[in-house]
């Protein structure tokens, strides 16, 4: 699986470099979900891009199954924050694109099976601008998993959705990840989301750049969990880790 060892990232700027990530040590648990929580601008998305092979770290190394990750691999798929769908392709064309690029002849059949599973088969010939946010998100997940990846990286996948759709999608995607035996990384700024979906929760340190701790968790998607004292205790613990450095 993906392992980050002492990973650092410094962006070059005219007034000198500025550190986005420092000494990140993390590993993605096999067939489990790692939720990464941090405030906006803490470097979560940059870390996800490093895990995807889209961005090269300036320090440390990233490995996938013991091999250094230098570029994107077929085994690692990404769901982007704003979906990253192509407006000029229909939903079916968007979802089937990874297979088409590989020259897979069974594209249409596989796309229809997956669209049925995702509950968006009726929209197969619609363009992204004719779909709701939830349908677009399902399409983005479909495109990510159609090629049979081992790891699914998700960057704030539910942030633009209404609460009801968000809740439905959390359940559907969790179920899908279990069915497909995917190892998942969920980057989010929502403590609630991390607690509901994560088997492990990595918390960014106050001010970002480094991870202050990784907690074990048992993700529970039922609404009762949100009202439980266990939820309050754990979310308080994460909030403290996020705010730790600030003294008021």
């Amino acid at each position: 699986m993906i392992t980050l060892s002492n990973v650092g990232l410094v962006y070059k700027a005219p007034e000198g470099g500025f550190a986005v990530l420092e000494r990140i040590n993390l590993s993605v648990p096999r067939e489990k979900t790692l939720a990464v929580v941090g405030v906006s601008g803490s470097g979560k998305t940059s870390m996800l891009h490093i895990m995807a092979g889209l961005l090269a770290p300036t320090a440390g190394k990233v490995e996938y199954d013991g091999v250094e990750l230098k570029e994107p691999r077929r085994e690692i798929a990404v769901v982007f924050q704003e979906y990253g769908l192509f407006p000029w392709k229909t939903l079916a064309e968007n979802v089937g694109l990874p297979l088409r690029l590989r020259g897979d002849k069974r594209e249409r059949k596989q796309v229809d099976v997956l669209l049925k599973r995702l509950g968006i088969i009726e929209q197969r010939n619609k363009y992204p601008n004719q779909l709701s946010g939830g349908q677009r998100q399902r399409a983005a997940v479909g495109r990510a998993i159609i090629g049979g990846p081992k790891v699914l990286l998700m960057d704030e996948p539910f942030s633009a959705l209404d609460p009801l759709t968000r809740q439905l999608l959390r359940q559907d995607i969790s179920l899908l990840c279990t069915e497909k035996k995917l190892s998942c990384v969920l980057v989010t700024h929502s403590i609630e989301e991390a607690l509901m979906m994560g088997d492990q929760i990595a918390v960014f340190a106050p001010g970002g750049q480094s991870i202050s701790g990784v907690l074990s968790n048992e993700g529970r998607l039922d609404q009762d969990f949100l009202a439980s004292t266990e939820f309050l205790r754990r979310s308080g613990q994460i909030r403290k880790m996020l705010e730790g450095g600030y003294e008021t």
Partner: protein
């Protein structure tokens, strides 16, 4: 009748009315009544006198536009997606863009002779710079997430060009083609009045020299209709190739 068509009809009728009033107020031979000009146009068009001129002009506009597009597309795409190419070419494009290319017409005629080539080349030269600038900007503005999505799918450069860059730039290319169409017609007119024996520009200036104003206006109507027909053709091609943009185009 659709609202859009009704609005166009009202605008056309208003224009004819203004023209009619102006011709009565001026009462000069060089501004005939619209009915006379339209009648002359119908007579010449049905009689076939305008056909060769319309065809010559249409071929020149199409030829110039296609030549400009064929040259501008690779340059603009390369400038938009490859920083090193942009660094080298952008200063040249910026310097050459504002120069009025029509002034080079005598030199172009010396270089290419008197046939269709100098007219096609001049139209291409005039619209090339606008096309290249728009294609470059469209290629530059492709959202990072879409580029990254292609990378995560291990797309080869040719696949990225086909599935991402070209379709993303298409609406910009069509907008640019539509906006340069008026410019192409104007340049065509100038090119055809200079050492030319065919085309609507030649016909209009020739009739003006002969003081045959009804026929001159018939030529102007033909040139306007040619521009309008090409505009509609571009819109139809755009609707076919950019189907995902149709709701936006129709708004």
């Amino acid at each position: 009748m659709k609202r859009k068509h009704f609005d166009a009809f009202i605008a056309f009728a208003a224009l004819l009315l203004l023209w009619h009033i102006a011709s009565i107020l001026l009462n000069k031979a060089f501004l005939p009544k619209p009915a006379d000009a339209i009648w002359a146009f119908l007579r010449l068009f049905i009689g076939g006198e305008l056909t060769d001129h319309i065809l010559s002009s249409a071929c020149r506009i199409l030829g110039g536009t296609v030549l400009a597009l064929v040259l501008a597309a690779p340059t603009g795409l390369a400038m938009g997606r490859i920083a090193a190419v942009d660094r080298v070419l952008f200063p040249f494009i910026s310097l050459l863009y504002p120069i009025p290319k029509v002034v080079f017409l005598p030199i172009i005629i010396v270089l290419f002779g008197l046939g269709n080539s100098p007219k096609i080349f001049l139209i291409a030269l005039v619209i090339y710079f606008q096309l290249v600038t728009i294609i470059r900007d469209s290629a530059k503005s492709i959202p990072d997430q879409q580029v990254q999505a292609m990378r995560t799918m291990n797309a080869r450069p040719a696949q990225t060009l086909r599935h991402l860059i070209l379709p993303c730039c298409l609406p910009g290319i069509f907008t640019s083609l539509r906006s340069t169409l008026g410019m192409s017609v104007a340049v065509l007119y100038i090119a055809e009045t200079f050492a030319s024996f065919s085309g609507l520009g030649y016909y209009i200036s020739n009739r003006m020299d002969c003081r045959e104003y009804n026929e001159m206006y018939a030529g102007i109507i033909a040139l306007s209709l040619l521009g309008g027909a090409m505009y509609i053709l571009l819109e139809l091609i755009e609707k076919r190739l950019c189907r995902w943009n149709i709701p936006l185009l129709d708004k």
